[in-house]
């Protein structure tokens, strides 16, 4: 059986020292081993940006695509081979700006993949511009007088988009992060895990300390029920989205693949491509 070490490769990440993404990478590797995967069973599909490089840093099948499109690529992979565990991953700009359309529709569609967003509230690889999760008033190179657009409440959006697994975590809480990724992988359907992963170079506001002071653990809220969507929405609104833990799970909603009529119960990629002659004759006859 594989251990987390088997999910390591020889590639040295090009992230800045202290970047939150290192812990996310380690958490994915540990979670993959903990749920019993072998490296060959895992595909990590990533977008563009600092965090998008993650597909190259995990010993697994990796696909580093184009900006904002990790989700459609990942959904295509899963549709082709349901035996693979598919993790899509990228940053807040990738998933919530250029790729937002895909994010909402992937949640509606509910194909069984896990989407891990490394949210640092800023564009890092382009050297410090505002992001959809930047707070109003946040000063960056592209918002020198402070952002005048409102910040996106991504967890609320996930709830209203029908997402069946909504979770948020913090990159330094390695143990909790590993556990939540394991749960996300095991959830049958689309799971969204937003991980606050501070950018130590360009974001001097939302720092490690800032998150430690502002994030509330759902474990500390008495009577919190992650199966209660209304309570989830209310809690997010009360705390301005700054909560960590499993926010909502719908364990009964069937995944897209369970719902598609006729969809192959084994990996489609392993099927014979040839059409039997009698079938072909029958198909032709429909045009006569």
């Amino acid at each position: 059986m594989a251990t987390f070490k088997d999910f390591r490769n020889q590639v040295k990440p090009n992230w800045c020292p202290g970047c939150g993404d290192f812990s996310v990478q380690a958490a994915i590797q540990r979670a993959a081993a903990n749920v019993g995967l072998e490296p060959d069973d895992l595909a990590v599909i990533s977008g563009i940006g600092c965090s998008g490089r993650i597909s190259g840093y995990i010993n697994a099948y990796g696909f580093h695509g184009i900006h904002g499109r990790s989700l459609p690529i990942a959904q295509g992979v899963k549709m082709a081979n349901r035996d693979l565990t598919v993790i899509a991953s990228g940053g807040d700009g990738d998933g919530f700006a250029i790729g937002m359309g895909h994010t909402i529709h992937a949640m509606r569609r509910n194909i069984d993949i896990t989407y891990i967003v490394m949210d640092n509230q800023i564009y890092g690889l382009t050297k410090g511009q505002t992001s959809p999760t930047s707070a109003e008033g946040f000063k960056t190179k592209s918002t020198p007088s402070g952002s005048i657009e409102s910040s996106l409440s991504i967890m609320e959006l996930a709830l209203s988009s029908g997402c069946g697994f909504v979770a948020q975590s913090f990159s330094t809480d390695l143990k909790d992060l590993v556990a939540i990724i394991e749960q996300g992988i095991q959830h049958k359907g689309f799971s969204l895990i937003n991980v606050f992963s501070p950018c130590v170079t360009f974001n001097k506001v939302n720092t490690y300390d800032w998150f430690k002071q502002n994030l509330i653990s759902l474990n500390d809220i008495e009577g919190y029920d992650p199966h209660n969507r209304m309570m989830a929405m209310q809690t997010l609104m009360e705390h301005n989205g700054l909560v960590k833990g499993l926010i909502y799970e719908n364990p009964t909603r069937p995944s897209y693949q369970e719902s598609v009529r006729g969809y192959s119960s084994s990996a489609l990629s392993k099927q014979d491509l040839n059409l039997p002659e009698e079938k072909f004759t029958e198909l032709m006859a429909e045009f006569m």
């Binding site: 490769n9 590639v11 490296p39 060959d40 069973d41 595909a43 599909i45 563009i48 490089r53 597909s55 190259g56 010993n59 697994a60 099948y61 990796g62 696909f63 580093h64 695509g65 184009i66 499109r69 989700l71 459609p72 690529i73 990942a74 959904q75 295509g76 992979v77 899963k78 549709m79 082709a80 081979n81 035996d83 693979l84 359309g101 895909h102 909402i104 529709h105 569609r109 598609v260 009529r261 006729g262 969809y263 192959s264 990996a267 489609l268 990629s269 392993k270 099927q271 491509l273 040839n274 059409l275 002659e277 072909f280 004759t281 198909l283 032709m284 045009f287 006569m288």
Partner: protein, 583 residues
Amino acid sequence: MIEQLSWKVGGQQGEGIDSTGEIFAIALNRLGYYLYGYRHFSSRIKGGHTNNKIRVSTKEVRAVSDDLDMLIAFDQETIDVNAHELHSRGIIIADAKFKPVKPDHCQATLVIIPFTEIATELGTSLMKNMVAIGATSAALGIDTATYQAVVEEIFGRKGEKVVNNNMEAIQRGADAYTASAGESVQTLSLKKADGKNRLFMIGNDAIALGALAGGARLMAAYPITPASEIMEYLIKKLPEFGGTVVQTEDEIAAATMAIGSNYAGVRTLTASAGPGLSLMMEAIGLSGITETPLVIVDTQRGGPSTGLPTKQEQSDLLAMIYGTHGEIPKIVIAPSTVEEAFYDAIEAFNLAEEYQCPVILLSDLQLSLGKQSVEPLDYNKINIRRGKLNDQEIAEREDKSYYKRFELTDDGVSNRVIPGTKNGIFHVTGVEHDETGKPSEVPQNRKDQMEKRLRKIQNISFQNPIYTVAPHEAPDLLLIGFNSTRGSIEEVIPRLEADGLKVNHAQIRLVHPFPADELKPLLQAAKKVIVVEHNATGQLASLVKMNAGYGEKIESILKYDGNPFLPGDIHQQCKEMFANGHI
């Protein structure tokens, strides 16, 4: 007796004009006539003039006819808009309800039949279409019983009474025509057809069936005219084979999802038209640099932007060849008939896997939507080739390091591994990368990988890259086209020969990489060359000149008003060019 009939039915969109044409055409196809349809329609659902023009012939035809023999009119607008196409022996059969009037200049015979009144008497005015079909049949000397089977197939679910009512509507229409038409009945009697079984389908049906026969099991697509029929057919059929169609949120998702599932080992297509292809351009580049097979169908329509969404055009050609930033290997195939569309769809998947690159199957609106008779397709010509896909060998390798998925090879093609294969882990990235897929900016590596990718398509194997009919060693004229213009060009050649010209024909089927070596001798032999295409800037002519030369001999006949070429358009312009000493 006539060997060929040009028939048109017109009315308001949403009035059942299409189904009238459909029932008429299916019945005649079963009698063994060759049919070729052209639907005039607008980008709206209800209202607005629409018509369905169907050519019926005892010989194979692949073009819209120049004139019209018979016009079925459900409103005055149909007569006003279309009467000019009718020749002097033509017939208009019109519904008495709108008190039809023939335009002054029109010499055709007007026969007025109470379509709506008869239908209403039989229970519902909806059956006026059937009354019209009956009247048509009487005019053509076709037995009304011909429709029995078709009517049963369409209305059988609604019960025997509905079937009988519809058949009675047809009979009443025929009787009414015979009673009121007089002598003109005989002039349009159709010569009997050969009775052979043929398919009656649109190009999009052939592409979809080809995809299925070619092993495609997934499709990701966003609806658009004139491509949607492909996804609509496959969503009905793919579940029988374990697959499905995912309707995505946009064309970017469609193309990238298709890349994901092709990467994971399932033949997957997407299909769209110009606006969708514009959105897919970045994904096409991703397929190119990551060497992931991808099949995209582009059914061209009028551009740019929303352009003429329901009209014929061939203006995506250069965008399909050169579109996407940067430089990638790409194959662009342009079938010229519905049969070719079927076989080329299969071949598109083979080439995409053999050369590990994007393949664009280029169609145009008239090829995609023009419903026509097609000889039965040959099962034995279906073959599936997956190229260098060596999963078994890779699974057995001892080395656990990253697999060299992008290994430099003589032909540029490297072994492909399907994710999930044991010991086959490799990385894929749209960033320039080394042989294992690791990002690399090393200049020599960049050069090696770029050259490797481009090398792949230098000598692609593609059967009949040019459809050629060249009976003359030294023709006066070589006519060149691509996609659906083949039918019009084929039809104009005998007319030009009757004018005393020797004419050869080349229809380019592989537009990229351009088959310059095959075309050059044809260009060399001809005194003059005319490239016939549906765009305003002569894109195919530019390609020919750029790749094969002979620019001094090459002229263009262009049409970009939204309507398909009629053979007469091409004939007239060729004659003028010769008369003016242009050629």
